[in-house]
Symmetry: C2
Subunit: 127 residues, 2 copies
DNA sequence: TATTGAAGTAGTAATGATTACTACTTAGAG
DNA sequence: CTCTAAGTAGTAATCATTACTACTTCAATA
């Protein structure tokens, strides 16, 4: 991979984010330092960073994909109220994987996104 | 809901499918009996059938949504080799739900799609 | 049974996320 | 320095889906 200032800034932004950021959010953020950067450049570089294992792409069931700086494949939960994304521990991930494998005879190869309500939002409603 | 011939034929096609069919596939199939049906009509009716709980919509992580005639909310596995979709038993579904709830303090509210390799495709490769 | 209006339809345009294309630019090996 | 493969900006295209518009039809009621 040839060095590019654009890619460097894109990676910086993904790192600086809490770990979960969309292509458009990266674009808006990088524009602050490189005002004329192209959205295509952001997508191309995010995807090549994924290919080279610098970051991970998460396919959200609804809405746009998000990019994750946390190393290692892991699944997520996505709160449909506050829109926050949380990481599953690798232990929990393995436990679910094993359950599906033994019960369904099916090998999960990609991280999953569980959609629902996080504890903060549930407490808000009940409180 | 006012009766419509188009909606009736659309529901027939979803029923007749093995349970998992995309909007475009429904469109192609219904065109055989209603050649000038509009794709918009297919989408609108599929969505209103979902709203009235005749069928279920499954948000696929990648690619187009699919519609499911099987009653009752349930999660799925999706084989990325043969593209087949399998239903999770409600027991397995509840087990996973409980796991995520106790470990993450997160309530799953939507069915999930696990992506990976089904036993048929795995056997093919290993055999 | 004729009237009527809300719900439905076909066809087309628009949207949102993403990728592809094109002519220009730049990193960095030789 | 030179040269070329890789990268870039900007724009057009794609794919899945929804919105819009003028026309049609179901079905309640006069």
């Amino acid at each position: 991979m040839k060095y590019s200032y654009q890619r460097e800034e894109i990676l910086k932004v993904v790192k600086a984010s809490s770990g979960h950021i969309s292509a458009l959010e990266v674009y808006d953020e990088v524009k602050k330092t490189i005002p004329n950067i192209s959205l295509g450049t952001v997508y191309r570089n995010l995807n090549s960073l994924v290919e080279h294992n610098y970051i991970t792409k998460i396919n959200m069931p609804s809405g746009s994909d998000i990019f994750d700086y946390t190393l290692g494949k892991h699944s997520h939960t996505h709160c449909i109220k506050c829109n926050e994304i949380f990481d599953l521990s690798s232990e929990l991930n393995e436990e679910i994987k094993a359950l599906v494998e033994t019960n369904m005879n099916f090998v999960i190869t990609k991280p999953v996104v569980f959609e629902g309500i996080c504890h903060k939002c549930r407490d808000k409603k009940e409180g």
